[in-house]
Amino acid sequence: MKKVFPVVLMLAVLTVSTVAFEKTASAEDVKMVGSITKIEMASDSTSAKVTLKDSKTGENIVVTVADESTLDKFKDKRIVDGDEIRSKYDNQDGRNVAKIFKKTAGC
């Protein structure tokens, strides 16, 4: 029994660290630049799903935007289809949630 306990404890620690590591890895930030091909506002206007065409790969990426300031830019068309966006997002529960969502253009 005395020999079994440390092994069980070690396995438990290993399992917990593996799960924690996987969570950290899956939450890694992704950076991309792409053009907006579609903006879908949620019915309650508290978020929007934006499809960005990755400028490097051509792949379509759907990013969820929830910050008020950016949502307001969708509403008054300061950000529209075709605009080029620099975005940083991470995957939360299967959704790419934007941490940064900015037009690349400036003056």
């Binding site: 630049v33 792409g34 053009s35 990755d54 400028s55 490097k56 300031s69 307001d72 008054d76 068309k77 300061r78 529209v80 080029e84 620099r86 940064i100 900015k102 037009k103 690349t104 253009a105 400036g106 003056c107």
Partner: protein
């Protein structure tokens, strides 16, 4: 009793007036009936306002400047004509234009003056009836402005114009400008969102915003003239200046006498704006190809609150040399206070023959990355024939005047009065003996111990 009734009556009138003004613009019915024909519609009830705008920095992008060294007296300076390394261009050399095709054959419109209130046929600083008619009043005054209409386009004759939303819907929905109104332009300065200034108007970042204040609550506009501060890199001004002390705060704003004594020599921003943000460096001699085929100057970006400021004495006059733009001041001139600054360093081309910083037309390097072609184009526009471009760095001190954090984030005794504190006392002009005293816990220990929470 009579006094109380009078006060209530006045409050009542003010409240009803504000409710009416918040509810509806008095001219809404007129606009709905007659449609919107640009500024002349506004002038029906607000005569003289269009002409008034033409005399402001928002229109001229320049003004006379009296606190910066090395400028020609009587001339006007601003983004219209300045050359420095955050932008390395200005309205003259980077007038809104079509960028030549890149390797992918794509073009785009770009220019420093894309934020100008005119339609680009009437340009920065223009005057006269046509200029008045071209003002985009609604971009600031409408709450229903459709920004998708404010885009540059090319006419059949090749002229580039900037679109405006002059719809009846936009004109019929007027309101007091919000912070968004200002940030439409001001957040994209310097080549991208939050690149130049690095502050976002957000309740998380600023106690004023958290208290529902908007930009014009501090920058209180009178006759379209905006009061501004003394940022060493923000030269043009409308002749009105802004200060924390005044309507909202006094010159002795703290309950603690020691802190009020500090306020005599230390600007409010120093303790209450502990972080800054935005780009920290740019290299205009090396442009990076973007995924879309266009090129951008290489830039070290920093997010909001990501950068620590530096602190220096500032007497509100500005040192202006080719390699340095920043505060003048010292601890002994009797005029200076310690202010926080964001240090920005930019690399661009200097004219070896004169030592002056050269400007760059972004059109060539945006299309193909050729920075020297941009210098040559700008030199041609400015009529400079005798030059030899050599790369070099310029340091600029930007005033750190926004992002006023909550009280708990403000600098405290132990932020500065410790050997590894945020203030470099030696550079601020203090002797070793003085520094020893300034960094001793003797100054604050007893009071801080009393104030700290019990475990």
């Amino acid at each position: 009793m009579v006094k109380k009734i009078a006060v209530s009556a006045i409050l009542g009138v003010v409240l009803s007036a504000s409710l009416v003004s918040a509810k509806e613009h008095a001219g809404k019915e007129y606009i709905l009936k007659n449609g919107y024909q640009g500024p002349k519609t506004c002038e029906t009830c607000h005569p003289g306002k269009a002409k008034e705008i033409l005399g402001t920095v928002h229109w001229k992008h320049a003004s006379k400047v009296d606190n910066v060294e090395g400028l020609k007296p009587g001339e006007e300076y601003g983004m219209k004509n300045r050359i420095y390394t955050m932008c390395n261009g200005n309205d003259i050399v980077n007038n809104l234009k079509e960028i030549p095709p890149n390797q992918l054959g794509q073009t785009k419109f770009s220019g420093c003056n894309t934020c100008h209130l005119g339609d680009h046929t009437s340009e920065v600083g223009s005057t006269g009836p046509q200029a008045e008619e071209s003002i985009d009043c609604l971009i600031c005054h409408s709450s229903k402005y459709d920004f998708s209409k404010r885009k540059p386009s090319k006419r059949a004759d090749g002229t580039i114009i900037m679109g405006q939303d002059r719809s009846t819907e936009a004109a019929a929905n007027l309101s007091r400008p919000t912070s968004k109104t200002c940030m439409v332009c001001h957040e994209t300065a310097g080549g991208g969102v939050l690149v130049k200034r690095g502050f976002s108007v957000d309740p998380k970042n600023d106690v004023h915003v958290a208290n529902k204040m908007v930009c014009i609550d501090c920058h209180q506009v009178k006759n379209h003239k905006f009061p501004t501060g003394y940022d060493p890199n923000n030269w043009a001004h409308d002749g009105e200046r802004i200060s924390c002390a005044g309507e909202c705060h006094t010159s002795k704003p703290h309950k603690n006498a020691d802190l009020n004594r500090h306020a005599e020599k230390i600007a409010c921003q120093t303790c209450h704006i502990p972080k800054t943000g935005g780009a920290s460096a740019k290299d205009f001699t090396k442009w990076e190809k973007q995924a879309n085929g266009f090129w951008e100057p290489s830039t070290l970006r920093r997010e909001v609150n990501e950068t620590k400021p530096v602190y220096a004495w500032y007497n509100l006059t500005v040192a202006n040399r080719p390699t340095f733009i920043g505060p003048n001041g010292s601890r002994v001139d009797g005029k200076s206070k310690i202010y926080p600054f964001k240090i920005f360093q930019g690399k661009a081309y200097f004219n070896k023959k004169t030592g002056e910083l050269m400007s760059m037309d972004f059109a060539p390097p945006m299309a193909n990355g050729d920075a020297l072609a941009g210098v040559a184009s700008a030199a041609k526009i400015l009529g400079i024939k005798d030059y030899e471009p050599v790369p070099g760095w310029q340091t600029i001190y930007f005033g750190s005047n926004h992002l006023v954090g909550p009280k708990k984030n403000a600098l405290s005794c132990t932020s500065c009065h410790v050997p590894n504190g945020v203030l470099n006392f030696s550079e601020l002009g203090y002797s070793s003996k003085e520094i020893q005293k300034l960094t001793s816990p003797e100054l604050y220990f007893e009071e801080t111990v009393k104030a700290q929470e019990e475990w």
